[in-house]
Amino acid sequence: MTIRTFSILFLCLLLAGCASSGTWGWYVIDPTTKQGYNNIRFLLNGFGATILLSIIAAVLSMCIGLIVALPGMSHNRWLRMPSRIYIEFIRAIPLLPMLFWVFYGLPVVLKSMGINANIDAFWGAIITLAISDSAFTAEIYRSGIQSINKGQTEAAKTIGLNYSQTMRYVILPQAIKRILPPLANQFIYIVKMSAFASVIGMQELTRRANELVVTEYRPLEIYTLLILEYLVLVLIISFGVRWLERKMGADESK
């Protein structure tokens, strides 16, 4: 269904462009001309950075999220509190200010601690996206793990499994099916938010579109293509997740 929606949308835009050549100037990204071909190559080359950025940030976010979520479910309030504070604090910071702080501010902080680290745009964006998103993944883990019946933990305890064995062999394999869909949502969110990396000079999809707009003065066509680029990325992820869910579902009903 999504394929159909997508193709209809794409066709509409294309037809609109062809029908009224006064408003649209597709020549700017027409691959049959040399200039258009170079432009479109320039834009599509941003895919690599956006994808790499998103994947590394998402993996980091999932790891940090789990590390934050587990003590957050402890009976011990001194373990629970740091986790709570982290989640509330990080969740309250908008992405863009955090990005500025990490990119411009963090090196200064590190320097004052005697660490001479230059944070480039790529890692600045990854750190920001991962930390910002981890507050949300932590909450996803918590709700997923808490949705597993308490009897499972008790049964694991009565056969002598310790905490980490219980998590690894009993709770997480069951929780993952419930966690996966919201986690995929979060991944899509990261892909879209990676566009902010353009403001600190990261050469990803949005940055390249901006740069081309400045030289070509064709914002409508270029930003339309930019939107479609993100659309394609997100749809691919959705399909991937759908496939994964079906596969896991099939395993369960076997």
Binding site: G151, T158, I159, G160
Partner: protein, 245 residues
């Protein structure tokens, strides 16, 4: 010889509600105890304290010469020696029957996979469902699931078995098959405490009956005396109510 379980002046509160009041109970090795009583009388809480699924507030519980304090190491040491069967089975739904049985032995006891599977199959024979080994728990009937749960505990070779209303969630026609397995274990000399309303089973398998009400042990004795000549009124009323049907 030391007792299998020694409980001294055990108290347990849930908030301001006292679930257990000054419980004293000793269980010898090989002894079969049946605990009965109205719901909310603390029977389940008592056996959940014995394998530290609940923490007690005061008093002493000594299991197999190890005192259960809040000390994590002692709890872990006892955890694997005391098997527990739950009313709701609590099988691991994402694992096959065989995997349910081998998880503990391989991860906790350090058995190899083939050793653990061999042991699991031997115990599945004993609870008479070897043919179900490769099914998922959701494909089994309630009675079969409970027998798998018993088998899962037995695979850890526990010294003591606790049963928390093992037949209460079962359809009537499946109760017998589960009770037969428990009686078989009892005849084999396993130390066990069974919380149940199955009085026929109690007469058949128990060495001693314990009647609880409102968090206290009201009466204790051999099944014969207990059923034929209950000493307290509360116990008489309870027995009348459940034996009528």
């Amino acid at each position: 010889m030391a007792k299998a379980i020694e409980i001294k002046r055990l108290n347990k509160w849930f908030g301001s509600y006292q679930a257990l009041k000054d419980i004293d109970l000793n269980v010898s090795h090989g002894e079969r105890i049946v605990i009965c009583g109205p719901s909310g009388s603390g029977k389940s809480t008592l056996i959940r304290c014995i394998n530290s699924l609940e923490h007690h507030d005061s008093g002493e519980i000594t299991v197999d010469d190890i005192e259960l304090s809040q000390n994590k190491a002692s709890i872990a040491a006892i955890g694997a020696e005391v098997g527990m069967v739950f009313q709701q089975f609590n099988l691991f739904p994402h694992l096959s029957v065989l995997q349910n049985l081998t998880l503990g032995p391989t991860k906790v006891r350090g058995l190899s996979r083939s050793e653990a599977e061999e042991r699991a199959m031997r115990i599945l024979e004993r609870v008479q469902i070897p043919e179900q080994a490769h099914k998922q728990p959701s494909e089994l009937s309630g009675g079969q699931q409970q027998r798998v749960a018993i088998a899962r505990s037995l695979c850890m070779e526990p010294k003591i078995m606790l049963f928390d209303e093992p037949t209460s969630a079962l359809d009537p026609e499946m109760i017998a098959e589960v009770l037969d397995v428990i009686v078989d274990l009892a005849e084999d000399g396993m130390t066990m405490i069974v919380v149940t309303h199955e009085m026929g089973f109690a007469r058949r398998a128990a060495d001693r009956m314990v009647f609880m009400d409102k968090g206290e042990i009201i009466e204790m004795g051999a099944p014969k005396d207990f059923f034929e000549a209950p000493k307290t009124n509360r116990c008489k009323t309870f027995l009348n109510q459940i034996l009528q049907h």
